[in-house]
């Protein structure tokens, strides 16, 4: 629900808003001043029920108390995380060393909610920081590609972020996937940061639970449900971040940040490569694929084309185990692309080979390599269709 809107000059916004937020917002149309819909309705419903109960008891003071209580909470919600100024401040004042990688992305995306995406987006790239590294530079300079980057975002979470797909309505959704995402146990503690899900959350939860019963997943889903009703719970990291920052308490993240910043490029790469050799798990594939299917079904229902590009990581990390998993995942991707008309799988062999020097660390591409690969991907998608290519062969 946009209560009103203002027209801003793009240069003004560029100067005002942190660059990382504006990255792929090539045209800025207007800024919604208040955003109520994502947090208000269920809460109002609760308040209404309580009011009805109080009215049934005909207690005037109780009626006033309920109004004050819910009114007070809604007012504070709007002040703290229901308006662009608040999100602008959170985005400006908090860094990843205060709140964490994913959390910073969440703040940035919340602020971006108040901006309209470019009018005609051809490509929407959604994924983790790998996706961010791959399309970042291209998205900055080209309005046909819109990038949504959330640190650690994996296939089990794509469906939770479908509102962005629905809002942008691109021609193609670009997913950058390999065993790096599919054969890795998801981190369920980030589920709570997902946007409002409405009724489909129940069926999504059930479908996830059918594939996995781990305690971590149960806890993650539970947090997601609670966060849907209580945005205070969802955004508590922001206020804990302020507390840490202002009292000089940000020891945990500061220590990580210090390690992260002081490690040499080579050391960082080596440690990530060695962890990549051991991190993947074939047992995670079924769960990831089931969740991915859920998202792909959604794209199909929206009439969107999906391009699944085979993701890459540092060549030194491809040991026998990873190669086996790679072919297993590729097999699954081919099966998917064959079973959905709107899905195309672009494997490694259709784009140029990536070498060690193309990576800035264990799994993020350098700007030069990313730009090259992005152009190749777009060229491939814009090229002749799969059937024409098959006929050529």
């Amino acid at each position: 629900m946009r209560l009103n809107s203002f027209i801003f000059d793009s240069d003004f916004l560029q100067a005002l808003v942190p660059a990382r937020v504006m990255d792929s917002l090539s045209t800025y149309v207007y800024l919604g001043s208040l955003n109520l819909d994502r947090m208000l309705l269920p809460f109002l419903l609760m308040g209404l029920l309580l009011l009805l109960a109080v009215l049934a008891g005909r207690k005037k003071w109780q009626f006033r108390s309920v109004i004050y209580f819910f009114g007070g909470i809604i007012f504070l919600r709007l002040m703290l995380f229901g308006n662009p100024v608040a999100w602008y401040l959170h985005s400006k004042l908090l860094g990843w060393n205060d709140v964490g990688f994913r959390q910073v992305n969440v703040i940035d995306n919340e602020l971006r909610h108040y901006f309209d995406p470019p009018e005609e987006v051809r490509f929407l790239a959604i994924g983790s920081s790998q996706t961010g590294a791959l399309y970042g530079d291209y998205a900055k300079n080209n309005s046909d590609l819109y990038k949504v980057e959330l640190s650690g975002l994996g296939p089990t979470e794509y469906y939770l972020y479908r509102d962005i797909v629905g809002k942008v309505k691109p021609e193609h959704v670009l997913l950058y996937l390999s065993e790096f995402d599919i054969a890795r146990n998801p981190s369920y503690d980030t589920y709570r940061y997902a946007p409002r899900q409405w009724w489909s959350l129940a069926s999504y939860t059930l479908s996830l639970r059918n594939n996995e019963q781990s305690e971590e997943m149960q806890a993650g889903l539970k947090e997601l449900w609670i966060a849907q009703l209580f945005p205070e719970f969802k955004y508590s990291f922001i206020f804990k971040g302020y507390l840490r920052k202002w009292l000089g308490l940000n020891q945990t993240f500061e220590r990580d940040a210090e390690n992260f910043n002081t490690q040499s490029k080579n050391d960082k790469t080596q440690s990530q490569v060695s962890s990549l050799k051991d991190i993947f798990d074939a047992n995670a594939i079924e769960n990831s694929m089931a969740a991915l299917n859920y998202f792909l079904e959604y794209c199909k229902s929206q009439g969107l084309q999906v391009a699944i590009i085979e993701g890459s990581y540092h060549p030194d990390a491809y040991n026998q185990k990873n190669l086996t998993l790679n072919s297993l995942v590729n097999e699954k991707m081919v099966q998917i692309s064959e079973s959905y008309e709107n899905i195309e799988f672009i494997s490694h062999d259709k784009i140029s080979m990536l070498l060690a020097e193309d990576f800035v660390d264990g799994y993020h591409l350098t700007a030069v390599a990313a730009d090259r690969v992005t152009h190749e991907i777009i060229k491939y998608i814009d090229g002749p269709s799969e059937s024409v290519r098959a006929d050529d062969l």
């Binding site: 004050y68 209580f69 909470i73 719970f233």
Partner: protein, 475 residues
């Protein structure tokens, strides 16, 4: 199922919705089934222990009451005690005693082959065992007539809000409320809601935010400096208060919503000036239980000064052991017994000192005494929280002989304590100032609503929801 989980919220709302629309007898059946379900969610096998305790004490209570023969009455009291303490002893202390015996024997150069059993400690066993024992003892003392309904008695034993961590209720107080129809007044709902929210604030905002500080310092092999130990002990003092008083507050609040009044378990333990007052403010249901059923049974203060000291010491020693099967709890009990005795010994001197210092302005002398007593209590918490006897001796040595300066970690700890404890201190001061634990709910409705909004945001914005169970579940 923990109070601080979403599952419990759903469970309680469901139970409460039915509870409000059914008459008294079905209400009791519902509460009993809900209580067994609540306990069974943790481990259904241990429901058998609750059932055993219920059956034995119900039967023994009836036999004690119906018999006029003193010997028979004593026999059935003994049966009740042996069964309850036997179960408690086996599940809680068996391995501890075997290990301790081995250490003792090896000191004399003897050794005996033993194997420890893999015994799981049933949640809340110390609480409901003491509660049911009070029933038979009170009947034996002719302070209570036995319950006529086994179902009502079963509910008294298993009443879910206070089943796993108290308050340890007395049959004299709780049973009549179960047996007679209950009226839920507007006041009950008002107080109940307030206590629940305040309890969550204590647990989620205060206790669980302080827990990581304490865990780091008291981890095994920790080489903390004096300032780090001191700041972490401060943190633990408020963590354990927030955790346990929080649980009690939620339990009392939930019961109040059900129309049942439980006893107050915590007042202002850190605003007291002597150990005797501390025990009148801390875990009141346990300290009064120990006083009524142990200290007085031992003779109390009726048999002269020396016997009084002995009784005090024994009571606190056993009180320490009640908390857990570990030597640090025993030492903590001994420490509590000792400071109670020392305080009694020093009373005349303290009285004189009081007379001299009282004229100091702004209640300064009182503040000094409160701070002194707080530190005495904190040293007890160090004994209580330490992960081993070695850690106790190492930390004590560091604190008193090698304190050192303020490290960055100590400053961090202190800042955390200040941030998370200040709202609690303000609330406690207000209640203490008005000498009324319900002082805040007697404010104007608009102020109360404002307090609820503030609590709501403190809990959800700054609360810690990843913590696991309540500390006293282990006891």
């Amino acid at each position: 199922m923990l109070f601080n989980t979403f599952e419990f919220l759903v469970f309680f709302v469901f139970v409460y919705a039915i509870y409000r629309i059914v008459p008294h007898k079905p209400q009791n059946i519902l509460l009993l089934l809900a209580s067994y379900f609540f306990y069974g969610c943790w481990d259904w096998r241990f429901l058998s222990l609750i059932l055993l305790s219920t059956c034995v004490d119900f039967y023994c209570g009836n036999r004690i009451h119906s018999s006029s023969d003193d010997r028979t009455r004593k026999v059935f009291l003994a049966v009740s005690m042996i069964v309850n303490l036997g179960v408690l002893g086996f599940f809680k202390y068996f391995n501890f005693f075997i290990e301790s015996l081995d250490v003792l024997f090896s000191g004399f150069g003897w050794s005996f082959n033993y194997s420890l059993m893999n015994i799981i400690l049933p949640v809340g066993i110390s609480f409901y065992t003491f509660q049911t024992m009070s029933y038979t003892i009170d009947i034996y003392r002719r302070n209570l007539t036995p319950s006529k309904s086994v179902m009502d008695f079963a509910l008294f034993v298993a009443f879910f809000p206070q089943l796993v961590a108290g308050p340890i209720e007395r049959a004299v107080h709780l049973l009549p409320q179960i047996e007679n129809p209950r009226q839920i007044s507007r006041e009950d709902i008002k107080i109940g809601c307030w206590l629940i929210v305040f309890g969550y604030f204590l647990k989620v905002f205060v206790a669980d935010n302080l827990a990581p500080i304490v865990d780091v310092t008291f981890a095994e092999g920790s080489a903390a400096t004096g300032a780090e130990i001191l700041s972490s002990t401060y943190a633990f003092a408020f963590q354990i208060f927030g955790d346990f008083a929080g649980y009690s507050s939620i339990a009392i609040g939930l019961s109040r919503l059900l129309g049942i009044k439980l006893m107050t378990n915590f007042l202002y333990p850190y605003f007291v000036t002597n150990p005797q007052d501390f025990w009148k403010n801390w875990h009141i249901s346990l300290s009064s239980w120990l006083r009524d059923y142990l200290y007085i049974s031992l003779g109390g203060s009726r048999k002269g000064t020396l016997m009084t000291y002995r009784n005090l010491f024994l009571t606190m020693f056993l009180g320490g052991l009640w908390h857990g099967a570990a030597w640090n709890f025993v030492i903590w009990g001994v420490y509590q017994g000792s400071i109670l005795i020392i305080h009694r010994l020093c009373l005349p001197a303290l009285g004189k000192l009081d007379d001299i210092m009282r004229p100091l302005p702004f209640g300064l002398w009182r503040l000094v005494r409160i701070l002194f007593m707080f530190h005495v209590t904190c040293f007890g918490w160090l004994l209580f929280r330490a992960s081993s006897l070695d850690q106790i001796s190492e930390f004590t040595k560091t604190l008193f002989t090698d304190f050192g300066g303020l490290s960055p970690l100590a400053i961090y700890n202190l800042k955390m304590v200040i941030v998370y404890v200040t709202p609690l201190i303000i609330i406690q001061l207000y209640k203490k100032w008005n000498d009324d634990i319900y002082a805040l709910i007697k404010l104007r409705p608009s102020v109360i609503t404002g307090c609820y909004v503030i609590f709501f945001f403190l809990i959800f914005l700054l609360g810690e929801f990843n913590a696991t169970e309540f500390i006293y579940f282990r006891f």
